[in-house]
């Protein structure tokens, strides 16, 4: 009988029972939903991104499946940070009972505003604050994502780091940049403790019969299977460029996908769209498949996989 492999790991100073992290915005939009996903096996859960003010998001259709992935333009629906912090405090109380860390996620329209939102959200004492500088779906309201440019990305991080004290800060990067490694370097230089990569890739579905874009927002963010090689490449570039842990996110649907993400240099693995492809038990299925892979390949500790393919 082979020994049960160890999936527990560290992300910065955070202990995770396993490296799977619920990606921001995917299902976990309320304390009860965060708790549900935590119970279903997640090593940590990230809340939906919240901003300074409440946002309704875009009208329907906001999401569709296509042959090779999903696309969404939910439009950062959220109750605004004042309501959100109350929800995160509630979530935190519940999650503590089962020892699953809570990650907050924030966005804003300027570096200063990022700092303000971060300060408010700190009151919930999340294990990590993820700074979403890369949402592709709110272009009209916020202009280009901050992740587009190393300088503005760095300013956001500086502002957030000043606001949150000792809470570690992750920066979530976008794939549609020429040199993601350079942006990672810029944010790490300002003290980013973790990089999350990647957010969805901008895309558009057109229905030829309707002669129209499918999403009401026309363009949206691609997630799921088609995103995986894009994410692997971004994670590998970042791993070669900086020395902080990475939450590798994008197209992880199976245990093998998760293993590949670790091999690309990720220390933890974000999972979102997998709920659609694998159902409510997605996390448990992925974890079982990771264990099976580790047993087959005689790997005892999940840490051994990190960066193997670099």
């Amino acid at each position: 009988m082979p020994l049960e492999p160890t999936l527990a790991c560290q992300l910065n100073n955070i202990h995770l029972r396993n490296p799977l992290v619920l990606a921001s915005g995917a299902m976990g939009v309320s304390p009860t939903l965060l708790m549900r996903v935590a119970r279903s096996g997640a090593g940590a859960v990230t809340a939906k991104s919240c901003g300074p003010q409440p946002r309704e998001g875009h009208p329907n259709p906001v999401m569709a499946e296509w042959a090779h992935g999903l696309i969404n333009a939910i439009g950062l629906s959220n109750p605004g940070v004042d309501e959100e912090v109350a929800q995160l405090i509630e979530a935190q109380t519940q999650l503590t009972t089962i020892d699953v860390p809570l990650f907050a996620s924030i966005f804003a329209g300027s570096a200063q505003e990022f700092g303000e939102v971060a300060a408010v959200i700190s009151a919930a004492h999340p294990a990590l604050i993820e700074v979403n500088i890369s949402c592709p779906n709110v272009h009209d309201d916020f202009g280009l994502p901050f992740a587009a440019d190393a300088k503005s990305a760095a300013e956001v991080v500086r502002s957030v780091k000043n606001a949150v004290g000792t809470i570690p800060v992750a920066v979530k990067l976008a794939p549609n940049v020429p040199d993601i490694g350079r942006i990672a370097q810029a944010v790490v230089a300002e003290g980013a403790d973790v990089i999350t990569a990647i957010n969805t890739m901008p895309g558009m579905l057109i229905d030829a019969d309707a002669q129209q874009a499918v999403l009401s927002n026309r363009s949206g963010g691609i997630s799921g299977p088609a995103l995986k090689p894009i994410a692997l490449r971004c994670v590998a570039e970042i791993a070669r460029s900086v020395d902080v842990p990475i939450i590798g996110t994008g197209g992880v649907i199976t245990g093998r996908d998760a293993v590949e993400m670790l091999m690309a240099g990720a220390s933890a693995v974000g999972v979102g769209s997998a709920f659609w492809y694998r159902g409510a038990e997605a996390f448990a299925l992925i974890l079982d498949e990771m264990k099976e892979f580790m047993i087959d390949h005689n790997i005892r500790d999940i840490g051994q996989l990190i960066g193997k393919a670099l």
């Binding site: 915005g25 995917a26 299902m27 976990g28 939009v29 309320s30 009860t32 939903l33 708790m35 549900r36 996903v37 939906k48 998001g57 009208p59 329907n60 259709p61 906001v62 999401m63 569709a64 499946e65 296509w66 042959a67 999903l70 969404n72 939910i74 629906s77 229905d207 019969d209 309707a210 002669q211 129209q212 499918v214 009401s216 979102g272 769209s273 709920f275 659609w276 409510a280």
Partner: protein
Amino acid sequence: MKHTGTFTACKVVTIEKLNAATSRIVFDRDVDAQPGQFLMAWLPSLGEKPFSLFTRSPLSIVVVDVGPFSHALQTLRIGDSVWIKGSLGNGFTPEGENVLMVGGGYGAAPLYSLAKACREQLMHVIVCLGAGTSSSVLLRDEFDRLDCQVAVATEDGSAGTKGLVTNVVEDVLRREHIDTIYACGPTGMLTALAKISHKHKINYQFSWEAHMRCGMGLCGSCEVSPDADPSLPAGWLACFDGPVFRKHWNAVY
């Protein structure tokens, strides 16, 4: 259950008025689905809204005109397209020998395919239909033709028993042994029925509604709170875990 999140253009083959505000729309294709699953219907430039499957072969829906989108659906002409994403969610499963179905308003629609499936399995089916007034009672003849035992309640008493359909349900339960209660309709009705089912410890399968955006379990907007029925687990999503919630009193699974 089969799910698809990809939109497909479906052409209207027939569109038939069931009453002043309600139409049945039949499309030019079949879907692989169970009674109680739903779909998202998209009309370009207008929006996208959830509807229960009425029949799966051919695909048809029953639409009540309550606002701009459901109105637009009713003004479609034969040959026009509706873009359909689905089937989605988890539907009803036939269980027991003697079953009760409770439909409030267009809630009767998803029960029709279920009743048909139950009757094919030679189950005894009692149907209680609730509505505001007699002209809003939906699908009564259709259930009759399946040899279901049909009871009607209207709030104004213009057909059947006067009052809420839940009263009729209580009557039935006093008279008959029921294995499973199926229901679809307004949340208030379902909450009341859940209380009744709990009191009598009868298994039930209710189809819950909630505001749907993605319809695919990812946006989190269709969470139904256990306030509506304490048996609902926390974090229950109508589009992903439901719309049908099942309660088994002696569940071994």
